[in-house]
Structures are given as structure tokens and as C-alpha cells.
């Protein structure tokens, strides 16, 4: 399968950004029209042979005020992986369409995203259930404005006497004490 050809074919009907041909078997492309996501995914799955959802993950672009969702799809027969990226506005509540009916595995990813990034997928089964955190009341911990160091210092007590060395300086002073 020629990915350039595929992207060209898709661009005639969907609003796609500039593709990145990362490796011969790995391509990334942005979808600029979020409402068309489900149509594009179904087309990729049923017509283009991308039958497997490898992963669904998010990136917090806090400076741009956006969340990026990456839908990683794999076409096993052609040995091609396509990363489809969409961008959401980063303001609460963040919600997006669920794709659990296209790939049932997406349900688990969506639960994780809901818990760790606070991106909700209404209608996705058990999406409001706890995923790996328990009794969590603070902001979703994978958001970049969540300060994990400050949180841990405010929550858990330090034992005095803990020292931190910069590995580079430390090894230098150990190995070349004369400088």
C-alpha cells in the first residue's frame, strides 16, 4: 500500500493536514475537521484495511491551549501504521466523541484518558469508573498544570537527610577529583 496515494485519496473527501512520513511503515496526519472523525475511522477500517486500533492517547499542548488525541491504526496485511491526530480545545469540560462502537478496545483507552487527562467521552461504557487511581479528588494528574512534585511534597512527608546529586557533576568529581 502506498501511503502517499492513500493520503491523497482521503484528502479529496476529508480535511487533512500535511502528512508526516516518519518511516516507510509509519505515517502521521492531522484531521482538521473533528466532526468527520468517525466517518474517516470507519472508512479506514472497512475500506482501507486499517482493522486494528493500536492505541489511543493524548498530548497536553498547554501552551497552545489544545489537547491532541492520536488514533494509531494498523493495517496488518500491508504492514502500515497510520497515526491520525485531532486537536481539542483545552477548556473544561473537555469532551469528544466516543469510538467504542468502532473498536471495543477504545473503551479502555477512553477510561484512561478520562481519568488521567480529564477528557470525557460521553456514552463510552464505564467511562466514569475509576481506572487506576483510587479515591482521586485532585485535577487529572497527566495534565501539565498538575505539579506532581508540589503535590507529593504537600501530601507525603519527607525524611530529612535525603540528598540529590546531579549525575554528571557527581561522576565527574568522583572520577576526576583534580578537575
Amino acid at each position: 500500500m502506498d501511503m502517499r496515494e492513500l493520503i491523497e485519496r482521503l484528502t479529496s473527501r476529508h480535511k487533512l493536514g500535511a502528512p508526516i512520513f516518519q518511516r516507510p511503515d509509519l505515517t502521521f496526519v492531522d484531521l482538521t475537521d473533528n466532526d468527520r472523525l468517525r466517518a474517516l475511522l470507519v472508512e479506514l477500517r472497512d475500506i482501507e484495511g486499517f482493522t486494528h486500533l493500536v492505541l489511543l492517547t493524548a498530548v497536553d499542548w498547554i501552551e497552545e491551549g489544545k489537547f491532541q488525541l492520536t488514533y494509531m491504526l494498523n493495517n496488518r496485511a500491508a504492514n502500515q501504521t497510520l497515526g491520525l491526530r485531532v486537536y481539542l480545545e483545552r477548556k473544561d469540560p473537555v469532551e469528544f466523541t466516543s469510538i467504542h462502537d468502532i473498536w471495543p478496545t477504545a473503551e479502555t483507552y477512553q477510561r484512561e484518558l478520562r481519568e488521567m487527562f480529564g477528557i470525557n467521552f460521553p456514552g463510552s461504557p464505564r467511562v466514569m469508573d475509576e481506572f487506576i487511581l483510587e479515591g482521586w479528588t485532585d485535577m487529572p494528574p497527566y495534565r501539565r498544570d498538575f505539579d506532581t512534585l508540589a503535590y507529593s511534597q504537600q501530601t507525603y512527608r519527607d525524611r530529612p537527610g535525603r540528598a540529590t546529586n546531579d549525575p554528571r557533576d557527581h561522576m565527574k568529581s568522583k572520577m576526576y577529583p583534580e578537575g
Partner: protein
């Protein structure tokens, strides 16, 4: 170490709602009888732990301690990376059994709880319950730097830093990860401590029960168990 970040404040207001299965409710039995159920009160006994007194004579107590030191039963409860190091220890390569140290599958049959590495808050909850279900005399060993000061998870939002804030630790074995040899040396040390009658962790837990509970509840926000679950 970086000073505390002043701009980030953790959320201390929000209460975690009690889980549905733990809420009080009324149930109608098949014969029409209506039963009130309060799971937290009805399913558990809330009797606090008691201090285990020393024997009336030093000789008898010394004999007890000798016997205790030679009867270590470890609870097979693995957290963090350290659980991996216990496998060679309990199998022929390092063979802890020759020292009379063995593993048991349930807290009821064990008297030594080894916390083998980092403890997430979620696991801490289980570790507390496991510890409280063990029979006295019981001992706790913290394995690896994660249990001592947080180790390399010192800035993690979800792992505790000092195990002795939450459970009474009798002995720490340092390292990341301590090898089975270090574990053996540590367990030999523990035997000496027990023989000297200084492994009083369980009594310390009973005496400072409120302090331990306050610490435990300050990190476990979904506290939906009795205060003492033996």
C-alpha cells in the same frame, strides 16, 4: 532538591464520596423481612488493637523471643520491584528455607510483612489491611529506598515516601533493589532484634494507633473500611 512550589495547591476540599456498596441501605429478605444494613458497621469488627504484654519473667520472655526469632513466616505480598528479588530467595538459588524463613499465602498464617518497594496509595490500603489481619507478634520489614524516603519515586503523586508513617517498621533494608544476599543479611538482623526483644512494632502500632490512622487517612481519601480490620 527543589523547594516546594508555591503556585500549585493541591485540592484539599473535595471529599471522595462513599462507594455505593458501602452506603447504608435497607434490604428486603425473601420472607418479607426488612433489614437495615450499614456495611461499615455490620461487616467488620472495630475493636482497636491491644498491646501485647511482655511475659511475667525475663527468662520466659527470652524463651518466647528465641522461639519467635526462629519462626518467621513471610506474607507473600509483593509490591514494587522488590517482589522479584524474593523469588530467588525462596527458591534453591538462595534458599531462605534453610534459615527457617518461609512464605505463606494469607495474612492469617504469616507474621512478617515485607513491603518490597514503592507503595502506591492504592496498594497501601491493601497493605494496611493485610498487616492488621496478621496475628501478633508480627513484624514489618521495608525493602529498598522507596520505603525509606521515596527512592526514585520521591516526586511521584501517587506513592508514599516514608513507610514508617503508615506502618510500624522494625527494620529497613537499603538498596535499589537490595539483592537476595542483602535480604538474607537483613532477615538475620531481624532475628537478632527479635531475640533482643526489640521488635515491638505491633505494640507501637497499638500504642500510637490514632497517629497511624490519621496518617493513613490523610493519604487514602477513599477510606471505606473499618479503622481496624482484624
Amino acid at each position: 532538591m527543589k523547594d516546594m512550589d508555591k503556585s500549585f495547591r493541591k485540592d484539599t476540599e473535595t471529599e471522595f464520596p462513599l462507594r455505593e456498596e458501602m452506603r447504608p441501605r435497607t434490604v428486603t429478605a425473601p420472607d418479607g423481612q426488612v433489614i437495615e444494613i450499614d456495611p461499615l458497621r455490620d461487616y467488620f469488627c472495630e475493636e482497636a488493637p491491644k498491646v501485647h504484654r511482655k511475659s511475667y519473667s525475663a527468662i520466659v520472655e527470652g524463651f518466647y523471643n528465641w522461639a519467635r526469632a526462629n519462626s518467621l513466616w513471610i506474607l507473600g505480598f509483593g509490591t514494587g520491584c522488590g517482589a522479584i528479588e524474593m523469588r530467588p530467595l525462596m527458591t534453591p538459588r538462595f534458599d531462605a528455607y534453610r534459615y527457617g524463613i518461609q512464605w505463606r499465602p494469607t495474612p492469617r498464617q504469616a507474621n512478617l510483612l515485607i513491603i518490597s518497594g514503592y507503595l502506591s496509595v492504592k496498594t497501601l490500603k491493601r497493605a494496611i489491611r493485610a498487616y492488621e489481619q496478621m496475628q501478633q507478634p508480627k513484624f514489618v520489614v521495608g525493602l529498598g529506598s522507596c520505603t525509606i524516603n521515596g527512592g526514585m519515586y520521591w516526586d511521584s503523586y501517587n506513592t508514599i515516601k516514608r513507610l514508617d508513617d503508615y506502618l510500624p517498621v522494625d527494620l529497613y533494608i537499603a538498596g535499589c533493589m537490595p539483592r537476595p544476599e542483602a535480604l538474607l543479611a537483613g532477615l538475620m538482623e531481624l532475628k537478632k532484634i527479635i531475640r533482643r526483644g526489640e521488635a515491638e512494632g505491633a505494640n507501637k502500632y497499638a500504642e500510637n494507633f490514632d497517629w497511624y490512622k490519621a496518617n493513613q487517612k490523610s493519604v487514602i481519601k477513599d477510606w471505606d473500611m473499618p479503622d481496624y480490620s482484624w
